[in-house]
Structures are given as structure tokens and as C-alpha cells.
Symmetry: C2
């Protein structure tokens, strides 16, 4: 059973604080191992990647087989059923339609002093996308990472996906092809991140790396940060459902379980203003846990990190939601739009009882790569912006320089940066001559 | 003298690659010390910060004097000359006018399937700004960090600025007041970053930390990343000037020196299509280095990391610029707008000979916190966006769920996530009943 909390009880604050700060993830300290792997790849290039892939993935590669050939991709992709293919294509179309709208406009204007100012957005030249192999190899994540990159205009998009023992997920290759990925390497772990960041003889380096991974991948991303850009370091998934009593307890139970089944470290929380409804949902969860395929994982997550919180009213629910800053927030209430206005910190909000979070995982259109572990307080889900950067533009006319130059000179002097001031003064002196 | 390179010589590629990869910064490994400091602040709160401030800044504080009082601030600020005050106020006004335009719009739309989609931007609730003490205590950086935060709508903005031996820079306090900063703490180093990230009895925690700092501050920011958001880890400053022969060599020399005077690790590079002009600029630099106040620093930077590169033509200059991906790029050519179109990777571009980079440091309007060390390939200068985060919104009607739900269910099945599929199926079954 999950924890049951009630805001009207004396020990609520203590219990809620403990829930917020519960350490859900065992992060093994793999930093030293990862540092060695990165150094090895930087020193020995292809051969290091090949050796490490033989060791960790039990797969013998050559420089020629590091990447999938077009023929291999076609062969694997041919195994995908028409129904799966159609589903991926519809998902890709909807994700693309959403992300196209994120493209920010360039701006330029001339201000009253005659200074022309503005900025220009441009795409990262090359991006690398990490895709976990094995169990957590999700074609939907390929779409969610690759489509924003391509919409942004990234010239070259490479995927690294390990194939332990040579096992390939054809859906991952198909998703990559649908999304327009240019290169697919069958490598994984810290060695894949190092190869993407620093390049090898066969693998040209990229400028930005995104995508989820295990502790080795996360530690490697943290280490190469600065050499290349990275997206967030994702933690286990979370959902917060705020639901009133006018919901089917089984629907809400399934929504909670759809997070819990990801990972024993996932967290599912229900906040309701009706204690009996909370109890009914908990019972529905227990019933579903009898038969779910992933009942061991989902059950462990629910038992260890699940919670049902009864509140006095919906404003109190919004206040708690802001302290949780959930990755996913479902608002199953009569007026979800109004409640959403008070929920300031959330990666994604799902409005109303016909919007289960699973829609957002696949076909809604918004990205499913979202900030976890309360980081929605300060960060956003993956977007086109992650593959763009902004260059600011300034142009002074002689008149503009005369108008604002003396102020720059004054501030440079106050900061004891003489050459800064002189670079302005030399121009002003000639203009005033 | 700086390095002289010429793209027509056989050894150019080798020399240019060496220039690109020159390690300009000695990063002492302070990570273990910083880890201890953070642990200490987490364990002992105020008292740890007080003890560490006594040790590193030779300053005795109490919980009551960690923050400047309004009276102290007023007293220090009263010492600022009217000219300096007017300069800071004009700079603030121009920076605000530029950054207000960065506020991104919210969007919501309903697609043909009846799904309402969109996103909403919201401000980070609390931000902390680190301001170095001593020599590198720049009031202009206070404006550049604090104004975007306030424009974004950050509720609570705190500054940490160390005052070693009790020495206060009144201009920093005035800049903070002009920018609307709410709290100013006289603490620095890793202990200040830890206090902002985790909070103490006196200092409430923030959600995002920005601002430059020494190796301890940089290591601490890297460590608290994830618990809070951080901006980039800034390296030493850089400028690339692309100039044709129709420029005053002394102006260009001063522009190069305005970066070099920041730091012996700074880098100033000139690219020109006229070797004689390059020589003339190098001579003008030598002349200026005879008298500049900061000639030791500027001279060391120019000698160790400066370069004058002669190219065949301007397109070649743009190609090299893209490999350098400079923080600051000055285009002193006849048609800077056209050349700028080919310069894809730069933090800030300054167009034409009347736009010395120093204008951008103070009063142009664009931010002067910019990506260094080639990171303009994948990142942008500080902006209002750094203090905002996006929440995505989705709402399905029954019709929309019927239209796209089956696709979500199919993809969930292909990823073996049964509860995901069931959360959609349960709703579809009722709708189809």
C-alpha cells in the first residue's frame, strides 16, 4: 500500500516533507570508471570503442560496422508490422506539428538613438542522440528527441544505440528513419557518449548530446558538458494526479500505474479533496496490480514511493503541486483550466479526465522528455530550443555611438577597464573632430 | 608578439588547430574541497557560512549581518558619484528595453482532431546571482544578470557578493538596487553557492543560480546543478575581429586589448584579408601596450593567446570564425550584415566599425554574459529565457481521444507498457459503449 496523507492532520507537514525528499534513486558512483572510459576513447578512438563494445555488449565490431548500413536498416525495418509503422508515422506527424510551432522568430529593430539591435536563432550543426538498448529501448523516445532536432534545422543527427549480444529493436531503427536521422551507431554506454563528444576516426564529433541513459551514460554526459551541450540529466519518472470524486477510480488507478510500471523508482501521487475517492483509487490500484504484466515493478514503485494525499480543497492541491513540481500533472477536475493557472511548476499538464498521461507519451504532440526530481521549478521539457542557439546583434551608427558611447566609457572607467573605454573614446574623438 | 598565421601557408591547418585547442585556463582541481564545503553548509547552515567567511574573507558575521541592511545599502550607495549613477541608470534602461523583447508568448491551439495543445511560460520563483568580490567585481554584470531575471518575473532575487576584509563596492550595491534585487548577502565562494542552493536558517534556498566566479564557485555550481538550475560555466573572455584594410589600426588594436585586459587567459584574434593591415594592427597593439594601465595582463594574453590570421577573402574568414565559434565577433568590413549571415556560431556579433565590443559590455542592450570556449556552437548568452520555464498543455475531448487514442495504445503495446495502453483503453471502452 502507498502512504496515505491528510493535510488536516498534525503530522502532515513532516510526512509531506519526507515524501518530497525521499531518495528514490541509487546512483552508483561510476564517475572514476567513466573518466577512464572517456580518456580511453579520446586516446585510442575507434579501437577503444570497439574494445569496450566487445566487453560490455558482447559484440564484435570493426570500424566499418560501427554504423548500421542503409541495407541493414532496411532489412530490420522490413520486419515492422504495418500497424506499428502506421502508429509511429502518426505519432511523428503530430510531434512534428507541435514542435514546428516552437520555432522562435528572429528580431531586429532600430532604437531612438539609432542603434540597430536584435538577435538571430541558428541551429546546432551536429547533434547526437543516445537511445538505451535492451528493455528501455523506446522508439517513442527516438521520435521525441530526433524530431525537435530536425525541426530546428540540425544538419547532422547521429544516434547511438547499443545492441547487446547483437539484439536490435527494429522499431527504434524505423523511428530513426521516420525522424530523418542521418547516422545510427550500434554503440552504447560512456564510450558512446565519449565518441559523440570527442569524435573518433569513424565517428565525427557532435555539438550537442541528448537522450536518456543509465548511470554510466548520465555520468559521461555530466563529464562532457562544456565540450558539448547536453540536455537534462533525467531521473525516474513521476506523475501527480489531482482528481475530484467525479472520476472513475479505475481510470485514475491506471494513470498512476502507467508511471509506476516504468521503474521501481518511479513515483505516482494522487491528491484528492475526497478521502473516500482516494481510498477507492487505492483499492482499484490493488485490483489492477493482481494482473498487470509489470506488476512487480509497478507494485514496488507504488508501495515504496506512492502516496494518496487528501486535501481540504483544490487551491490546497495546487499549493502542494507547486512544492512537488511534478514532471507530469494530470488535472481530473471539473474546471482543469482554472486549476492549471495555479499550478506554476510542472513539466507537462494534462487537462481533464479524457487526457491520460499516456497520450502525451506517444501522440499528443508535446515532448515526453520532461524535467524530473522537482527540476520543473527551473527547467523545461525538451524542445526545438534545445537545438538552437541565439546570436545577439548590435550595430551603432556614428550618431548612436555619440549618444551612448560616453556612458560606456564612464562605466569602463568605474570598472578600471581602460582599454574598454579607449576603444570607445578613440572613435568618439574622430567623430567629434 | 602574437602568432601570425596565413591560410595560404602549408602549415596553416596545424597551427590553427593548435590555436583552437590551446588550453588557456588552469583549472585547479578544487572539487574535493568544494564537496566538503557544500556538505558543511548543508549540515551546519548559517554557522558554516559564518565560519567559512571568517576563514576565507577575514570577515566576522552573525546571522543578523549575513545580509546587508537597507540602511547599510543606502549608506554605501550615497557614496556613488552622480555621473556613475546616471551611467548605471542609462545602461539599466537600455538593457531592460532589449530584454523585455525576449519575453516569449504563450500559445494554445486546437488541432483538427479536437485536441487542444499549447504551452505556457512561467518564471522561476527564486533566483540567486553570484557576484565576484574584489578586482573582478563588476556592477555591469549585476545589471546583466539581474535585469533579465526581473524582466522574466522572478519573485525573489538574491545576490551573493563576498566583501573580503569588509571591502564593499558601492557600485555593485547601487546596480543591485537599480535592477530591483531583493536581498544582498555578503558571502562568497562555494559556501555562498551552497547556501543559495540548499538554504540555511537565514538564507532561503533559490531555484536557479547564475553569475560568474572563480574555480571554487564554478565547481560548486557544477555540483549543485540538478538541485537547482545554473547558467553556463564561463571561461576566460574572447574576441574575434574580422577587419578589412579600411579600418583605423588603432581602433582595432584597442578592441583586441579590451578583451586582453580582462585576464591573462583571455584571447584576442584578428582575421584580415590584408597582411599589411594585420601587421599595422599588431604594431598599434605594441604601441598601446606601452601605456595601458593593465598592460601586464593584456600583454600576457596577447603574447600567449593572441593571433593575427591573414585569409584570402572574407568567406574564408567566416569559415574560420565558425570553427572558432567566438564569444564576441566584431565585423569591421564594408558590408557586415552580409558577412554576419555566414557567421553561424557566435555569442554576439558587433556590426561595423562604430560598434566596438565595449559598447556591448555596458550599454548596447544585449547581454554581456556569453558562451565562451567554443560553446557558442551549442549555447546562447544569458537571457530572459534562463529565468523562465515552459509547461506544456494538452487536453483531449472524447472525440480527440477516439481519434488518436488507439495509436497511443498500439505504441504502448509495442513498448510493453501495458498500463499505459490500458489507461487509454479503459476510457475508449466507455466512450464506445
Amino acid at each position: 500500500m502507498p502512504q496515505f496523507l491528510d493535510t488536516t492532520t498534525a503530522d502532515f507537514e513532516t510526512a509531506f516533507t519526507a515524501l518530497l525528499s525521499a531518495k528514490r534513486e541509487d546512483s552508483p558512483d561510476v564517475d572514476a570508471i567513466v573518466a577512464d572510459i572517456i580518456a580511453d576513447v579520446r586516446a585510442r578512438g575507434d579501437q577503444a570503442v570497439i574494445d569496450l563494445t566487445a566487453k560490455f555488449d558482447r559484440l564484435e565490431l570493426t570500424p566499418e560496422t560501427l554504423a548500421f548500413s542503409p541495407e541493414e536498416i532496411a532489412e530490420h525495418v522490413a520486419q515492422v508490422s504495418p500497424a506499428d509503422r502506421a502508429a509511429l508515422e502518426l505519432a511523428a506527424e503530430r510531434i512534428r506539428a507541435y514542435h514546428v510551432r516552437q520555432m522562435p522568430p528572429n528580431q531586429t529593430w532600430t532604437d531612438p538613438d539609432g542603434a540597430t539591435l536584435g538577435w538571430r536563432w541558428g541551429a546546432v550543426a551536429a547533434a547526437g542522440l543516445y537511445v538505451p538498448g535492451g528493455l528501455a529501448s523506446y522508439p517513442s523516445s527516438v521520435l521525441m528527441n530526433a524530431i525537435p532536432a530536425k525541426v530546428a534545422g540540425v544538419d547532422r543527427l547521429a544516434i547511438a544505440v547499443p545492441t547487446p549480444d547483437g539484439v536490435v529493436n527494429p522499431l527504434v531503427l524505423l523511428a530513426a528513419r521516420i525522424a530523418g536521422v542521418d547516422e545510427i551507431y550500434r554503440i552504447g554506454g560512456a564510450q558512446a557518449i565519449a565518441a559523440l563528444a570527442y569524435g573518433t576516426e569513424t565517428i565525427p564529433p557532435v555539438d550537442k548530446i541528448t537522450g536518456p541513459g543509465n548511470a554510466f551514460v548520465a555520468a559521461a554526459k555530466r563529464r562532457v558538458f562544456g565540450k558539448v551541450g547536453i540536455d537534462m540529466i533525467a531521473g525516474p519518472s513521476e506523475i501527480l494526479v489531482i482528481a475530484d470524486k467525479d472520476n472513475d477510480p479505475d481510470w485514475i488507478a491506471l494513470d498512476l500505474m502507467s508511471q509506476a510500471e516504468h521503474d521501481a523508482s518511479a513515483q505516482s501521487i494522487l491528491i484528492t479533496d475526497d478521502a473516500a475517492f482516494g481510498q477507492a483509487v487505492a483499492e482499484a490500484v490493488e485490483a489492477r496490480l493482481q494482473t498487470l504484466e509489470r506488476r512487480e515493478i509497478a507494485g514496488a514503485s507504488w508501495r515504496d514511493f506512492g502516496a494518496v494525499i487528501t486535501v481540504r480543497d483544490l487551491p490546497e492541491a495546487a499549493a502542494l503541486s507547486n512544492r512537488i513540481a511534478p514532471e507530469h500533472l494530470e488535472l481530473c477536475v471539473a474546471d482543469p483550466e482554472t486549476l492549471a493557472e495555479d499550478c506554476r511548476h510542472a513539466g507537462a499538464i494534462f487537462l481533464g479526465q479524457f487526457t491520460p498521461e499516456a497520450i502525451g507519451d506517444y501522440v499528443g504532440g508535446p515532448n515526453h522528455v520532461l524535467p524530473t526530481a522537482r527540476s520543473a521549478r527551473f527547467s523545461s521539457g525538451l524542445s526545438v530550443m534545445d537545438f538552437l542557439k541565439r546570436t545577439t546583434l548590435s550595430k551603432m551608427t556614428p550618431a548612436a555611438l555619440k549618444a551612448i558611447g560616453p556612458t560606456a566609457e564612464r562605466l569602463a572607467q568605474s570598472e578600471s577597464l581602460e582599454a574598454h573605454g579607449l576603444s570607445v573614446r578613440a572613435r568618439l574623438d574622430q567623430l567629434n573632430r
